[in-house]
């Protein structure tokens, strides 16, 4: 099948936007975070990403059809917030192409920074009341900047999956890119971890994000997203995510 990818925007996006990405992964932390941001910041739907390589799905919400990977945008104070939200998992074979597309589009739109919102699975999540959030970036300057803003750098271990690929692409092409990853469940939807990721984002972009509703609806979200989590786990096989519990040979 032809590897054709389309990034369509029906409106112009101002330069210097924060480009926030929420793709399905462990604990569905990314999409839960971006979904909450879209609602809280009342962002407008601007376009979509599509490809024949993605699952053939259309979503209907309140009678209106939507692409499964959508772009939203809107102002928060003087800053423009651009959000990429996905309701389908990306098959591992197409991670590279999508990562390339997201970074290229970020450069073309002259975004200020590309921020990946997600989770990092920990085996003892059940016992953690307040999940920690780590920043991961290939650029040491970005890690230092985040640390100064109060977000702990991820010092050891692997980051796997599509976010690893976007971090690499962003670094190679000179786009400021980092991931905010909160401790989360591996295969259960984790709104608590999404709230932690959003609070770290708040420190990074200096805009308040109210997560109270997200925490209030935690149980309901966990029930609702069971099916999406199951599909995501299936799609994630072979994505590189399995490396996150691996000790790199470098440290052995």
């Amino acid at each position: 099948m032809e590897e054709k990818w389309e990034f369509y925007l029906e409106k112009e996006v101002p330069e210097n936007a924060y480009f926030l990405v929420g793709l399905p992964d462990v604990g569905l932390v990314g999409p839960i975070s971006t979904s909450h941001l879209v609602k809280t910041y009342q962002l407008e739907e601007l376009g979509y990403i599509d490809s024949p390589l993605l699952p053939s799905v259309i979503l209907f919400h309140k009678g209106k059809p939507h692409f499964p990977i959508r772009i939203y945008g809107g102002y928060r104070g003087d800053d423009y917030i651009l959000v990429l939200h996905a309701d389908v998992a990306v098959p591992p074979a197409y991670i590279h192409k999508l990562a390339e597309l997201i970074v290229e589009k970020g450069l073309e739109l002259k975004v200020k920074e590309l921020v990946l919102l997600g989770g990092i699975a920990v085996p003892n999540r059940m016992k953690i009341e307040k999940p920690k959030t780590y920043v991961a970036s290939i650029s040491p300057e970005v890690m230092e900047e985040a640390e100064k803003k109060g977000v702990e750098p991820l010092s050891d271990g692997f980051v796997g999956g599509i976010y690893a690929q976007i971090l690499k692409e962003g670094y190679k092409k000179g786009l400021k890119t980092y991931a905010l990853l909160s401790e989360c469940f591996f295969n259960y939807p984790d709104p608590g971890a999404a709230a932690a990721t959003l609070k770290a984002l708040e420190k990074m972009i200096n805009h308040e994000i109210d997560v109270s509703k997200l925490l209030e609806q935690e149980e309901e979200i966990r029930i609702k997203l069971r099916e999406f989590m199951k599909r995501t786990m299936e799609a994630m096989r072979g994505s590189g995510k399995e490396y996150e519990f691996t000790v790199p040979a470098l440290y052995a």
């Binding site: 259960y188 935690e218 309901e220 069971r226 299936e234």
Partner: protein
Amino acid sequence: MEEWFIRYLREFEREFRRIREELARMEEELMRPLYDVEHGALEPLYEVERRGDEVIIRVDLAGVKSKDDISLSVVDGKLVLDAKLEKPFMVSDITLLRGKSFTEYHLEIELPPGAKEDEIKASFRGGMLEIRIPVNIKRVKVKVE
């Protein structure tokens, strides 16, 4: 035809059938939705971990408030779990499920071989049920030369 060859063919056929059935079961498992509309039951997400002499099953029971709302038993080599939701769960975002009400979780899992049924323990915290199943393991000491 030689007898050994016929035996070999039959064994091959049996194994082939077993793999085909296993694949069909996996496919069915994948495609099956986690909603049992007829019984108003949800299937919870769960994971299984093998750790030494134990098999640990963790089940996400979001929406269940107390351990008193959980019933866990072993029936014919299967672990059967029923848990009542604190309030009925209605799916308003999917037209086909609109108006349907789900009041409980239901899950059945085959016990692992060698499971010590009388020694199974479970604990419930933060909407997560952890079931610990001790298993008999046959150990043979191998001499290293």
